[in-house]
Symmetry: none
Subunit: 533 residues, 2 copies
């Protein structure tokens, strides 16, 4: 028998507290619809009493409602010494027009007396009054007990009293929040067990954890194992400081390993896609090393090892990556063997038989390039071009005939705005083109000159964006005269790719990576990462 669990996503409120995230209403709507399609049952939309943008967000959702998820409005308990009915914040949460609301209140005596500057009794009354009023107004109430675990440790009797007050006032769920994020899993287990014993039977418990001790996911699981039926967290673990419990880890752990029912099974396979889509919308690079959904989460190195993985994956992988929509990835590295090359070719949709002489040719070429310092682990676009070339499938989209770069910093030695000039000569469809462009630095100038030359033939280059640029010296004892490896990362809409160049001259290495990046971008189909429909 599967045990039902309710996932409560707070990416749109707690998640956006992360430094560096700033989302528009349009972004929030796209994320909400994505979570709705993923099958998440509760989506916290924001705090309409504190943020005017959130008010609009809820209105827009009233006009075009979600298909299955409950959108939840968030608010604190009423202010001290007024009645709930007269608190404008609570009027704002009612105006959001949701069926469910989440109210957070104080559990820790010190936060009541020092923070709210009110009495412990008044705090209980604020909890009771707020929940009762919202219920009377037709809302279902989830109660978030802020600073719960610290409050419990400091004054257990009072902390428990706040929960009982919320239950008695009619809250549907009592959510225990580790607001400072420092609690460890074994403490969570003990405290949740104690709460379960204290509260009336059948009271529904939820858990809300933060990652300050690097155990947010384990903490959520510990609470579920003690009977919590709601888990609050965010996609990709976004949140203040060190983030919230990462739902992309919580969900597969609970559903695939512990048999809880969190998402409809056919939706679970959309988890990786949802994670990447949301990281694109909030404009943060996806964490490649993220558990479950990261690009490296099921990456394998080494020849013998790879054939073993393909024969019996579960001896080397803790879950089947397909179940969450991720995939096994064969890393092309120094230890590459023929089986790696073949497996890699398959991921690019190229069927290559091991008796095909091209396979050995690719391997030989790869080894040769690696001995020069090329590294394809992180530059799969360059590797794909290399494969295509060996298979006779690389089109000549343009030919570079030369380039020059000139930087003059004489006027401007201490300024950060010094500019560089690049001149390129190239041929497209038999036609010679000479172009020059300036940029902040030689690589930007080179990139600009190349695009200027190509845009009339391939207008899509205007959308390509050079997003990162990494340089590494390969021979530590020769300094600037040694080989330089340049990795360049690109994107165009939702697609990202990386290319590599190696040379003793950093500009030549950059040039190789920039040229291959433009070429690879031209080969891509219009869109790769899509919203789930």
């Amino acid at each position: 028998m599967t045990k039902q669990l309710w996932i409560y996503d707070t990416t749109l409120r707690d998640g956006t507290q992360r430094e560096g995230i700033s989302v528009s209403i349009e972004d929030k709507l796209r994320i909400a619809r994505q979570l709705d399609r993923l099958g998440v049952p509760f989506i916290e939309g924001g705090w309409p009493g504190a943020n005017p943008k959130d008010v609009q967000f809820f209105w827009q959702l009233q006009e075009q409602p979600l298909t299955q998820a409950e959108i939840v409005a968030f608010c604190s308990t009423r202010r001290p010494h007024i009645s709930a009915a007269t608190d404008p914040m609570l009027q704002a949460i009612l105006a959001a027009g949701t069926r469910w609301v989440t109210i957070f209140g104080k559990s820790w005596d010190l936060h009541v007396t020092e923070g709210l500057k009110t009495s412990l009794d008044e705090n209980l009354e604020m909890i009771r009054d707020t929940i009762a009023y919202l219920q009377l107004s037709g809302r279902k109430v989830i109660y978030d007990a802020e600073h719960w675990f610290d409050g419990y440790k400091q004054n257990k009797d009072y902390a428990l009293k706040t929960l009982l007050t919320a239950v008695t006032a009619g809250a549907e769920w009592i959510v225990l929040c580790d607001t400072n994020g420092g609690t460890l899993p074994h403490e969570i287990s003990l405290i949740v067990r104690d709460v379960k014993q204290f509260l009336p039977p059948n009271t529904q418990i939820g858990i809300h954890t933060h990652n300050d001790a690097d155990t947010a996911v384990a903490n959520a699981i510990a609470a579920v194992l003690e009977g919590a039926t709601m888990v609050q967290g965010t996609i990709n673990g976004y949140g203040e400081r060190c983030g919230n419990a990462n739902l992309c880890s919580v969900i597969p752990n609970l559903q695939l390993k512990l048999g809880y029912n969190c998402l409809p099974e056919d939706k679970l396979t959309q988890l990786t896609n949802a994670s990447r889509f949301i990281s694109e919308v909030v404009n943060l690079a996806p964490n490649e090393h993220a558990a479950f959904v990261g690009r490296s989460a099921f990456a394998h190195k080494g020849g013998i090892h790879v054939s073993a993985v393909e024969k019996n994956p579960l001896t080397y992988e803790h879950i089947e990556p397909e179940k969450i929509g991720n995939s096994r990835r064969i890393v092309i590295s120094e230890q590459a063997g023929l089986s790696n090359v073949l497996a890699k070719a398959r991921t690019f949709g190229i069927e290559l038989n091991k008796n095909n002489p091209a396979a050995r040719q690719i391997l030989r070429h790869l080894k040769e390039l690696e001995s020069q310092g090329y590294q394809f682990e992180a530059a799969e676009a360059s590797f794909e071009l290399l494969m295509r070339e060996a298979l006779g499938k690389r089109q000549q989209l343009f030919t570079i005939k030369g380039f020059q770069v000139h930087c003059d910093l004489s006027q401007d030695v201490d300024s950060c705005n010094s500019s560089a000039l690049a001149t390129v000569k190239l041929a497209v469809n038999g036609q010679d083109i000479l172009e020059a462009a300036e940029g902040n630095g030689p690589v930007a100038a080179l990139d600009a000159a190349l695009r200027k030359a190509l845009v009339n033939f391939y207008p899509q280059v205007a959308n390509f964006e050079l997003t990162d640029y990494k340089v590494r010296i390969l021979d530590e004892y020769s300094g600037t005269a040694a080989s330089t490896r340049v990795l360049v990362e690109w994107r165009s809409d939702f697609q990202r790719w990386t290319t590599v160049g190696v040379s003793t001259n950093i500009l030549n290495a950059s040039y190789q990576a920039v040229v291959e990046g433009l070429e690879y971008g031209l080969l891509l189909p219009p869109v790769a990462v899509v919203e789930i429909h």
Copy 2:
């Protein structure tokens, strides 16, 4: 009574398995010495039988040993059906000349029969023979039981037998490895408890976890709570796929929250620094949201909250950030940390009184530079120059009046030998000098031109060597137009130093770092055999 725990760092072996990390011997030595200074008792250096670079690393450490840490060489059990004494891999591990060695062997029956293609009995014999042979050769042996938790679940009796074999053969520690990283904390607890009951009393147990389920830190803690006395992990959680248990989280959790003794207390305050230093050496951006050591880990937003935090920090922070060398950060107004500057000055051997106006001046200048992207953790030489300047102790050894760089690759687009031409104009002792030089690449050309101009005045510049050059883009969303940070490493005889430059133009950033590197080198005493920290 504090309970003793042994931290075993495997950043240099397992950590370097992370995609995108590629370290030189010099990088590995710098990391090892940093960990040594941090007080880590065991540092795994590499697998000398599998990697020729690791052989050299161990030799270099024999010449200049660490101060307190045991450096450990890593290897598998001997191959099937030969004697340990004749296995060349084991000869390589002996040649590493360490007191401690770690041997990993198979615990999962399927990996024995399918992977090693040998019998279950022969695997036991391989474990016994290898450990006994190394012990007889004077080594202390740590035994890593690979795929332990999966092996236990599949064939508990056999898995336990492998451990007992290792204990009987004389292993000092039995380390349970969650190689696939998918085990959850409550399973770890149960299994470690069972192992403790099964093995002879006083057998020392260790734990080695991976983060595939996003619970590596919680898993390590769970094992310690059941009596494990060694934790294996990596700095910043670097490692294959989703990484290893992050020691930067494991150590403060165990030491500050659970009362275990992991590092000397005065060393714990160096943890944040070590984390950032190592991320610079491996050329990866530090994770700002990392638990404990991240720049955002103790970030607070402005307003009432901040004064509440300052009045009573422990109501808003799970630990005191200073205990691990991190600091509270006020997000909106980047508030001054004069004590930070004083502390930083102290780490560079400059005693600065807080009433000295220069201290505030340095702070102001430092903040300004850091907001531009400068980073001094790994560029001590540049920081010392900045300090000297504020204290009126920076001599004007030469003045740069301008430079130009020109690269023409028209003739030679696909060659790796393309050259660059640099022209510099500078003044020394009131005398103007114009010089030009060629080099493989613009930075080499610039370095050559500067030295050509300086060598008549300061002959020692001929001995300076530019040993490494690292580039990082600071704003990943603006690509080549974003700020570029260049770190340049130098040496002259036994002395090494690092400088930093930041600019939107990579050549300008390089120029700053090269010029400061030459200047700093000129300040060094002519013959000195000093370690620079």
